[in-house]
Every structure is written in C-alpha cells, then in structure tokens.
Point group: C2
Chain length 698, copies 2
C-alpha cells in the first residue's frame, strides 16, 4: 500500500491504527475503522498541536480535546496511552469490558485526559463550544497586558452524525455568532454512517452551511499529514471565527476488503481481515497490541514536551500572580471548585409579612445577591431572559468584542464583550445544554442555563449527560406547572418535574416560596453535581416558618405540624402547592382533624437524610399521607405509603388565566381538604367542604 506520507509518519500513524484494531478485535465489539481513518489527524494533533501534560491532566491552561464522534473511543484511549497518561496498556486490552476504564464511549472521570463524556451524537460538538466560551470568558476577565495566562484552544473531531444533529447545529450557529476563534473542529468526512452511505440522507453543502453560520472552513485530504498540518496552522491563525476543517478520510483505511464500506462501521474486522490489514500495511502479525519502540518514544516525547510547557506556564503564572495578586487569587479560588468565604453573606431573607413573589422573581433577587461574589458564575437563557429572570444586572453581555450594527435591545446593561457574564444562547435549548456542560467541564466557571420547564424536554439529552458526568451544571427551569395559564397545554409542564427526578445523580429542587428559593440556589451552588431548580411563574406567599422543624436543605421538613399528638394525616406538598396544603390544613384542623404539612422541595436531598429524620418528617408507616403537586401522580406512592393518596394532574393542561386553570383542575385548599377526608374514610366531611369532582389520584 502506497502512501503520500513519510515512512516514519506512517509508522507512527499505523501504531495508532493497530492499537485500535487489536483492541476492538479483542473486545469483539465496536467500530474499529473510524480510528483507522483518523489516525493521521490524531498523530499530528498530539505531536504538533495539542498543548497537554500527561503528568498533570488538570493543568488549567491545557488545550481541550473533544472526541465528539465518541464511537471512535479507541482512538482517544490509544493517544492517551501512547503519550504517557496514566493509562495502563492492560486497560486498552480490557476495552469495553465490565469494570474497565475503557468503556465503549469515553467517559469523563474514567481516565485522565478525557474532558467530556461523548457518544450521544452532537453533544461533544456543543460541549466544545462551551469549553471555548469558558476560555474566552476567563481570558477576557483575567489576562492582562503581557500576561496571557489563559490562552488555550479547543480542538475536536466531529463526524457526519454530529453535523446532522440539531444540538450541534444550534451550538454551531451560536459559536459562529460569538466568533469563537479558538475553537477548531476536524470533520471526519468519510461519507459512511451506520445505515449506509451518508448520501441517502445528508447531501447538504457542509462548508457553505458553516460559512453562512460564520465559521472559517477548509476542505482537505485528511489522509495527507502535510495537508492536515497546513490546515491546522491556518485554522489557528484565524482568530475571529471558529474553524471547521472538512477532512476527507477513508473509513477502515488499510483494510483490503473493508475500507470505505458501510460494513466497516458497525462491527470488528474479524481475524482474517485483521491479518490482511496488517500484511497490507506491513505490520508485524504478532504480537497483538504491538507498539514499536520508536513510536512509543516519539509519542512519549510529545508528552514530555507538554510537561515542559506547563513548567513555562507556571513561571508565567508566578509573574502574573506577583503583578496582579487579587486577580490571581480570585482565579485560583474560582478554579478550586469551592465557594469563597462569605459568598452567601447577602442572600435575601423574606418574612411572612412580605408581599407574595414568584419564585422566578425571588431567584432573580438571590442571583443579584451572590453573583458579585462568585465571579465564575456565568450563564443565560434560551432567549427568555425577561421571563426566566436570570439576568445578572450590570454584569455585561458575553458577546464578541466587535459590536454588531444597530442598537442592542434587551442587553443587561453592562459591558459588551467576552468578559460579559450574561450569555445569550438564543432559542437553542439543546445547544445551550451542551455548551453549559462544556463550561462546567472546563472549570473556573459555574455555568447555568435557563428556559421554561416544558422545554427541558428539548435539552434532556444534555441534562442526562450532566448527571452521568457529574458536572456542576445548573439548570433553571421556570414556568413550572399548569399555572402557566394562557399559553396553554403546549407550554404547561405536567410530566416534567417527575421525569427529571427519574434521572440518576440529578438533584431536582422545587421551592415553595422565596426563602426556599434561596435554599435551592445554595444547594445548586454547593452541589458538586448538576441541579435543576424548578421555579414558578406566578406569585407565591412567603410561608410562615415559625413552626418549621427542619428546613428545605434537608429536602423535606415539617412546615406546620398537627395541632397536637401525632397527625392523623400528612399533607406533602412541593412548590406552589405547599401554600394550598397550609390552607387545607386549616380547614382540616377546624374540623378537628390533626393534619401536618410537609414541604418537600427535593426528593434526592430527602432520600440522603438519616432514616430517623425521614420517619420524623413523614410519620410512622401507617400514617395516611396525601401528596399534592401540580404534575403527574406517578411516583408519589414512594412517599405516601400504603394508606396514602396523590393529588395531581395526569392529563395535559388548558389555556386560561393561571389561577382559573389551577382551580379548574382542582388545585384549591377545599379540594385538598376534601381529598384528605376521603382518604381518612370520612366522605361526609369531604362533601361538606366541597362539591367538586374528585381530583386525579392514584
């Protein structure tokens, strides 16, 4: 097989190829041939371009690399092993096996050097945009003349599949708008997808498409190391546009019978074809996992060079810290992942005498109180700032330094540039989700993304990955129930709070009033994983906490206990329905029924409490409990127990003024009290309170 590359280059490239081929073959599972086509690119990236230090994978100024085409995971594992990360060859041999650190798709945390978890297509693309946003923000905020202490690139490899996904298109449009010049993606244009030729579904002019979105594009032969090198140099020189390098590659390169075929995508080569490929490429047939000494030496040298680059950087950092001690201290603090002392000293407290306020508005007040003390807190909404109330006032707009023509309406009233902390994601929920995850993965910032709760559906793929990757992403979901009102059922969440609770590792917090909103933000900021804050559109009264036992940070607590002794019934409410429970309790007590109200903003936090606390809150097992939440009732029997019931809505909502919609579906104190009496087997008292139809219950 002839090649346009130098023989030594081919040796290095084939080393990468064959490690992947052997690992996939041993696993007898996976797609081996994306790595085969991408090996020249990987070789160049790691030996000539990427700034990295295998000895310190968390060096803050390293370049970030994202393998958005996560199904080519062996390419990444190979590079990490070869360049000297703490990745034993044995783990390469255990590729895709239970208990290994080399799963089918790369997972952040499993191996050093893996920046983000990829596999679900398009997510890595959007993560990279977030990584570049974080870099641009930190550089603008902290660099000073002569001190470019934040100055790194985000490189990525993306596939046909990534470029078809909406999440990537949203992120691409945003990256172009933001002129993220340090973002450089290589598009592995192999024209093959799992189902066949990409041309059965994907015939657009990708370069034209990206140009129109404000990207710099180049089209090259991805098998030619000279061309790849030139393209990367040029991409790096373009500083006001993100770059897409369309690299034509040959999937399964080197395999005599499976190169460029659709069959090459879905399964291993097979023993015979592995042999034929090795013969074809002039590779020793044995041993498996053969790494020539020369190759290992070269790749390890690249790792060593990176180590020296970090040493240089550390020296520059010291000089920066001497010249700008406050900034250096602030950045150190932000990167530490901990919150500075006193960050919470001005958090607002409301009293029961204060006017009712929507929790989204309370959230706005909480944000204003802490954001000046948390310089790394950045984010924004999917074009719903005036509604989600998430703007940091006066903190500037994260926008490219050149002002666009025309007046800027809706800006937050501060600077306009990369040091702005309010990000305008556009109406791109999924792209926002992926970008926020990328920012969280970068470090140095605490990112958030906001939209209406009903549109959490649009970004569920990213919310899930934030949970799977244990990222400190904060999701703010407002307009949290049928009380949304006039916008109608398309905009009224019903199943959403519960569906978020189903996602492992995600903390869901739905505050009942302004003070619980403060608690929710505290939880979100102190959490080391992702949190979803669920906020109301409508005003809610400030709850009287004078009888409270426990507090919101425990996930659930007794807000008002029964008048005496053990309660006959426990009303468990969340969010805007807690106030209804309080009023219903009054009615029950007025009839001589001992009722307790529990406010339960967060299942996950409550489940983490000691059993004794949980029992103290919920009462003994045989206590009848009625859950009250303006959402699906499925799931609530987890807490309501054998004699309990659930008051919710198991159908879609309706368009009308929010308070009327709530009443229409039975969310009134009278109905809740009546439901409680029915649960207690006293239908005559229920009838006395209300004539309405029975609420939905399960």
């Amino acid at each position: 097989m002839t090649s346009m590359n130098q023989p030594m280059d081919e040796l290095y490239i084939n080393t990468i190829r064959m490690l992947s081929v052997d690992a996939v073959e041993k696993a007898n599972s996976d797609h081996p041939r994306a790595p085969m086509g991408l090996a020249p690119t990987a070789y160049l990236l790691w030996t000539r371009f990427l700034k990295f230090n295998p000895r310190n994978p968390s060096w803050p100024d390293r370049d970030r690399f994202v393998l958005s085409a996560g199904h080519g995971s062996m390419l990444l594992y190979s590079m990490l092993y070869l360049t000297g990360y703490d990745v034993p060859l044995d783990q390469i041999k255990q590729f895709r096996q239970l208990g290994s650190t080399t799963p089918g798709h790369p997972e952040r945390g499993d191996l050093p050097g893996i920046e983000v978890t990829t596999g679900p297509l398009g997510q890595g693309f959007a993560n990279g945009v977030g990584l570049a946003i974080a870099e641009a923000f930190l550089a603008a905020r902290y660099n000073r003349p002569g001190h470019a202490i934040v100055d790194h690139h985000t490189f990525g490899i993306v596939s046909d599949g990534d470029l078809m996904e909406g999440v990537a298109m949203e992120a691409a449009s945003l990256a172009g708008h933001l002129q993220l010049g340090k973002l450089i993606y290589l598009y592995d244009q192999n024209s093959i997808t799992l189902a066949g030729s990409a041309n059965v579904a994907f015939t657009e002019d990708v370069a034209g498409h990206f140009s129109a979105m404000g990207w710099h594009t180049q089209s090259i032969d991805g098998m030619d190391t000279g061309a790849v090198r030139q393209a990367l140099i040029l991409a790096r020189a373009v500083t006001d546009k993100p770059s897409l390098i369309l690299a034509r590659t040959h999937i399964g390169y080197g395999s005599p019978n499976k190169q460029d075929t659709f069959g090459a995508h879905g399964s291993p080569l097979g023993v015979d074809e592995v042999r034929a490929t090795k013969e074809n490429l002039g590779w020793p047939l044995t041993p498996d996992f053969y790494v020539p000494d020369d190759a290992l030496k070269l790749f390890r040298a690249a790792g060593e060079a990176g180590s020296r680059r970090q040493e240089d950087w550390e020296a520059r950092w010291q000089s920066y810290a001497a010249a700008h001690p406050d900034l250096a201290a602030e950045l150190d603090q932000a990167r530490s992942g901990t919150l500075p002392d006193g960050w919470d000293s001005d958090l607002p407290v409301w009293t029961a005498a204060d006017k009712p306020i929507a929790t989204r508005k309370a959230s706005e007040a909480v944000i204003q109180a802490f954001f000046p003390k948390l310089p790394g807190f950045i984010g924004g909404s999917a074009d719903l700032n005036p509604s989600t109330n998430t703007v940091m006032k006066g903190a500037g707009d994260f926008e490219p330094p050149l002002k666009p023509d025309g007046s800027i309406q809706g800006a937050s009233g501060g600077n306009w540039g990369y040091d702005g902390r309010n990000i305008h994601f556009g109406i791109r929920e999924h792209g926002m989700g992926g970008a926020v995850n990328g920012m969280a993965a970068h470090g140095g910032v605490i990112p958030f993304g906001a939209t209406f709760l009903v549109f959490s559906d649009y970004m569920r793929g990213s919310v899930r990955l934030s949970a799977l990757s244990h990222l400190h992403s904060i999701w703010v979901f407002t307009h949290d129930s049928i009380a949304v009102g006039e916008d109608g059922p398309t905009h009224e969440p019903v199943e959403h709070v519960m569906s978020l609770r189903l996602i492992p590792n995600l903390t869901v917090f739905r505050p009942a009033d302004a003070n619980e909103t403060t608690s929710g933000w505290r939880v979100a900021l102190e959490n080391d994983g992702p949190t979803a804050l669920i906020l109301s559109r409508q005003n809610l009264p400030i709850l009287d906490q004078s009888g409270a036992q426990g507090d919101a940070s425990q996930g659930a607590y007794i807000l008002v206990d029964a008048s005496k002794h053990q309660p006959e019934i426990v009303l468990i409410g969340t969010g805007s329905e807690v106030q209804l429970c309080v009023a219903a309790r009054e009615m029950l007590e007025a009839q001589g029924c001992r009722a307790r109200v529990v406010s339960m903003p967060s299942w996950e936090l409550f489940d983490r409490q000691e059993a004794s606390y949980r029992t103290a809150v919920l009462g003994p097992d045989n206590t009848p409990r009625l859950s009250v939440e303006a959402g699906t009732t499925i799931g609530w029997s987890r807490y309501t127990g054998p004699h309990g019931g659930s008051f919710g809505i198991d159908r879609f909502g309706a368009s009308g003024p929010g308070d009327k919609v709530m009443a229409h579906f039975g969310f009134t104190p009278e109905n809740i009290a009546a439901g409680a009496f029915r649960l207690l087997g006293r239908p005559e008292l229920a009838k006395q309170i209300v004539q309405r139809p029975q609420p939905s219950s399960s």
Copy 2:
C-alpha cells in the same frame, strides 16, 4: 401612515390586524404584534394562494398551512373566522380563556382548519416537512397520467425562533435533501425575539444557510403585497427545492410607539396604544372586533372559491376512480383511518420451541408480514436501520427521483423515489419526530420513526406533541435497557421507559418476547393515538403461553400462575425481565413458595381494563408483589402495593457484554427469587439461593 399597498388591500390587511389586536387586548395576555406584521402575508395567502374549503376542512387535497410561530395564533384564528370556517366570532372574543377553542397556541382538534398543534418552536417547521413528505409519497403512489388527484402544497410561517431550533434545522436539512418542492415557508424576519434584538444571538446568513441545505431562497419586503405575491408565485414554480421566503416585516406594524420594539413581543398593546394604533391606521375606534362588510365579503368569497375548487376535484376524483378503481379504493381505505380487513392475516406466531429472538428482530418479522397490506405504512429510522430492524424489505427508499452520484449502500432494495416507503431520516431524531407527526396529521399514511430508546430523549418534544395532538404516530425504540452492553452508560436507557409512561395519552408497550411483539404492533396500528414500542437488543426466549390467563393486549396478564391456591407473591415483569421472573418462580416454587408471574407490557392498556380483571391479575391488595424491570424503580409502587417491592436499577449502567452487565446489576433469577423471599420475610431462604448484594429496591 402611508403604505405601498392599494387602499382596499390595506382595508383587508387592517381587518386581520385589528381582530388580533382587539382579541389580545381583551385577553390581556399574549403577543399581539406578530399578526400585525404578518397580516399582509396572511391576506395574500388565503385570498390568492391557499387551496382550502372552509365547509370541508378535511378535504384531502387541500393545501396544508402551518403556523410554526404558534404564538401568533390569533392570526390563524382570524383567518379561519374571516374565510368562513365554523369559528364563531364569540370564540375570537374568548381568546385564551378557559374552555374556549382559541387557546394561546393553536391546537389541532380545537378548531377546524388547524392542521397541527404548534407553539414549542421548531416543531411546526418539522411538521410541515412531514406534511410535504406525505403529499409527495401519496402523489407518487396514486397519481397516474392525467390524474393528479394528490397535488397540494404545504405553506408555513416560521419565525426567528423556529430557525434557531435544532429540530427545525434537522428537518430543513432533510427537506433540502429530499427536494420537497411543494414546501413553501415564509420567514417572518422581524429581527425581534422575546429577549430583545435577535442580533444578540442570531447573526447567521439565513439565506446562505438554507441555500447550502438545498433550499430555494428569496429575500423580500414582507409588508409589500406585490413583493409577497411575486415571491409566492416564484416559490411555487420551483418544484425541485423547498422554498424559504425571507420576508422583512415590522413587528407591531401600525402601533405608533411599539412598532419594531422588543417590548412589542411579550405583552398586549394596552388601551392607549390600541387607540393610537387605530387612529394611526385610520380604523374606527369602536366597536371592538370590527369587521368591515367589504372585508368579510372578500374573505368569505375566497372561502367559497375554495369550495368550488373542491367540487372540481371531486369530479376529477370520480374520473380517477373510474379509470383506476383499485388504486382509488386503496387510497380511500388508507385515508379512512381504519385498517383493511385481513391486514393481520399473516402476522407471525412463535412457539416456545422456537429459537430465542430479540424483540427488535421479531418486530422486523412482524413488519414484513403486515406492510404489504398497509400501503400507507411508511417510516424509517434516524440512521439506525441495521440496528432498529425497521426496514420494509423491497418497499423502496423514499428519496428524490434523481439518483445521487455514486453507489447507494444500505438501501432497502426497492425503488428509489417518492413512492419508496423506507425513509432515511438521517441522524436527526428530533426532526424525525416532528416530520412523523406531520405525516400523521396529513392522513392517508401511518408513519413511524425509530431510534435507540436512549435517544428518545433527543425527540421528547415531538413525542409529547404526538400525545397532546392525539396523532397516530408510532415510535419504535430499540436497545431498551442496560443489556445494550458494550456501548456503555451513554447508550443504556435507565429512566426512559418510565419517563415515557409519564406522558399523558401515550401508550407505552414493552413486549417480553416475539409473540408480545406481534401484540404490540397490533396495539400500535389499531391505536388512534401514539404508541411507543420498546424493544430489546438481545435475544429473548419465546414464552410458554400455555398457562396464560388473559393476554398482552390487556396490558398485563397472568403468564404463569402459582401452583395452587392464591399466590403468596406476584412477580410483575416487563420486557426482557419476564423470562427472569419465570425462572425465579421455578426457584420459589421449588422451595414451596406459591408464586405467580404477571407479564405487564403496557401500564396504559392495563389501566383501561375493568377493575375485576385488574384485581384478578394482581391479586388482592394485601398480596406482596415484586416488580422486575431493568429501569428506574420510581413509579412501580403504583402496582406493587403496600407490601411490595421493586427490583430495578436507579443508577446509570456500565460498559461490558450485555449479559454480564445485567448480571452485575443483579438481574438474575437467583437474585429475583432471593428478593422475593426477603419481601416475604424469609431472609434465610434468600440467603440459601444467593450470596449477592441486595438489589436496588424502593
């Protein structure tokens, strides 16, 4: 206020504007000014272009209109009223009120003439692509020379917000690839979004972007009726590309103080500004909801003209039916929404002696058995055909008539053209979801979309709308648990089955073996709403049904009863876990414990059964029940009752061979039997069976 349009045109246009303004003002809720800017377009569309018959909104050959920018609903309601649909003016006056048929966003079924439910941005755009796909398919299959009995356009109005959403970008790329020439969208380019100027987040070259995706584009002044008219004529003349007309409009046109302002988007004009606007446009200040006779006459005449167009079409239909009686009968049948007699006569039946088979493979066999008898059954996967096993063999590929260059790999082996029934959606789950909903809304076809279950997250917005709109969309989700194996946690659904069950109106069906898969397809096809079929990657044995009481179509049934008397415990399994329950039951019975196995493929179907049947299946309330499903346990206490437990997985999965992953997380008969013994308070017997750690339970 001067205008470039003729005075009578302005009268008609202002009639549309003022109806919207008054309705929004009365509702004191909504965005009134998109309709104000779009009124010239709407006037022209309904009086000069749209083929519609208000007397028969379901005329099959009508043009379809989609208001993707659903927040401009009053524009659509105004046009329906003015042109003579059965929409009382009183309902216009009840805009956004509880119980009205004029909700905040247009809902299919609420008023005649509303083709699809819109509001969540981007969905309508994707629906329109599906409507155009259905038209192209039906035209290709049924038209004959001289008989163009399927020949209509899909028009739509889309907003900035639509064009930022990934779901729309996916659908746009697909539409361009498919060369859907009868799809014509007007882009309301008003440069204003809810959060401010669109240029804070959206600065791409939209025309260039769409050109690169294969669309025909024009940029015009959207306030100039002459320009709009010419653009629509030209768009209609381009038959091999979908069209995007970029129409610059003025949001809030005519309002002296709120035109072109961001504040115009989120709230009503207010009494003073309504007055000022009326004065500015020379409109009578009273009465509200004023419709000049001349205007009503003109719009009603347009409706009458449509009525005559349908008469013409009916005559042509008769001539077609005479010439091609078989085709006409087939199309009539397909449009009826019922299934033809004998459609199910060849459905496969498996016996317990047959080899184990994955339910995705069984599904493939079922599809092959019915698709020849259901000519309207069309669909495909998001580039996962070889894995979802949803190809109709020999039924052709739905592709534009011109073959692309190069060989076509992965095609289904039939024709290549608009009469092909296998659609290659590309790796575009959300766009697929929206398009499938559009096809279902069109009628004449029964569409399906397929992907891996974990990626149902990517298209959840569309799945929800299929349920809200009661569309006959069929969702096929394969690779349904951690048994996916090597691809690892990014590809292993855990929370997904339950999260789909939370969506109202959606029937979720997870068959336990090949025969239940046949039942599932029967349910999906006979359902008049949406169904999600949840299928396994891995092989499953054919269950012995000889002891069954009831069947899968009832949602749950006794698969194997206890050996005698009432069971001491009921094991409730779904999908691939039912076989584990059967084996666990053997172990329990061997120890003298009377155990029943219930297979429960569908909660929704089971909930619809008589109470007596449900009790017969689940046993009396005090029967301990153990649910077994390789997914989140939240929700299962609904069925397991006061003494029950749940066997599931409440964390993310792991990468490894599927059977090892399942065993690692405890999904073995031994563990299930041990769990049952523990539930029954007999830990010593549990210990005897297995030494493993206790499974996750709640």
